[in-house]
Point group: C2
């Protein structure tokens, strides 16, 4: 029987990896479909809003990685105990997405002059600002990003970290002990360890 879930993304971690982490954490079998650049142009028109990653389940397909993560987080019980806790967890995940977008704005800028200007702001203002606050939150939550325990926000952050580091060309959390604790807490989960050992190699 085919697995109940199919994840379609490019052959990298990036926005697909939080979805793969959550499915692995839940022990769900899934088809890990990886689209090379040579096949993407012909597939793109059939994807909702022309984007990856997508999740397929019961003959339905959806895009938007954060929405998919939130759905899977409910299935694997990594959400809040009440609506307000859910709000705090969602807010942290969206904040990490903002951070990812800021680093991406630098990484994907093709005009070298503009890129240098963005680089200055990113490394002297944006990154320290976000990382200090996130580190403080991780301290207050005992090595997690919300609710004082493991939630999907932790898996979301750590699954995206290789991509953010690759774009920033540096380990962004190396000087933030509480964010390193979050990383350690996620990467020591047996299901995540097993997934990382068996996942296909990629540069990031």
């Amino acid at each position: 029987m085919a697995p109940a879930y199919k994840v379609t993304y490019f052959p990298i971690t990036a926005l697909g990896e939080p979805i793969r982490f959550l499915l692995s954490y839940g022990g769900f079998e899934f088809e890990d479909c990886r689209i090379g650049p040579e096949n993407w142009p012909q597939l793109k028109p059939s994807m909702p809003f022309g984007q990856l990653p997508t999740l397929e389940h019961n003959g339905k397909i959806v895009n938007q990685s954060i929405a998919i993560c939130k759905y899977l987080a409910k299935q694997v019980k990594l959400v809040g105990n009440d609506d307000w806790e859910d709000l705090e967890i969602d807010a942290i995940a969206l904040t990490i997405n903002d951070l990812r977008l800021s680093i991406g704005k630098y990484h994907y800028e093709s005009d070298e002059q503009v890129k240098e200007r963005i680089k200055g702001t990113l490394f002297s203002e944006t990154l320290p600002y976000y990382l200090e606050r996130l580190d403080k939150i991780a301290k207050d939550n005992n090595g997690y990003l919300a609710a004082g325990r493991l939630t999907w926000a932790d898996l979301y952050f750590i699954a995206l970290l290789d991509y953010m580091n690759q774009m920033a060309k540096t380990d962004i959390i190396v000087d933030h002990p509480n964010l390193l604790a979050v990383k350690n807490n996620v990467l020591s989960l047996p299901a995540i360890k097993t997934w990382i050992e068996k996942r296909p190699e990629s540069t990031y």
Copy 2:
């Protein structure tokens, strides 16, 4: 007694308005705190991640408008009937947020040459691409954006529309009858009508 909810934002609709729409829809009293540019610098350091809008409730404060909308949507019962429906609603809201970001990228660009280049892509590719697909979705859902009935995605879209139109300098949905139906469905809700009549005037 002070209202249970306090919304803090700038004196415009934009990212604050979906929150105000949802609170109004639910008939919740709320403090509608509007920060002028002269007061923002002294308030910014005390806001989570230096951002508005924020929601305060029971002595706690959170940022991230989409997370706040999702929380309020649960309180006012504008969410899905099951986890997959929730996923579809969330994905549409996040897609509308992507659209808003694309228009904002054009609007907020200060380099005139870069702005012209972005304008070309926005009006000839991005906007038609998104709006055609959203219009088709609204058609398939009988004048709503998901689940075949009113959900928070509809309020989110219509509350943001003035801001998107103002940034694009045009009515982006004027040629999309099914999106006009979504607009009409939201703006005819008695609680939304009342809110729009009583809300403070702003340019957008």
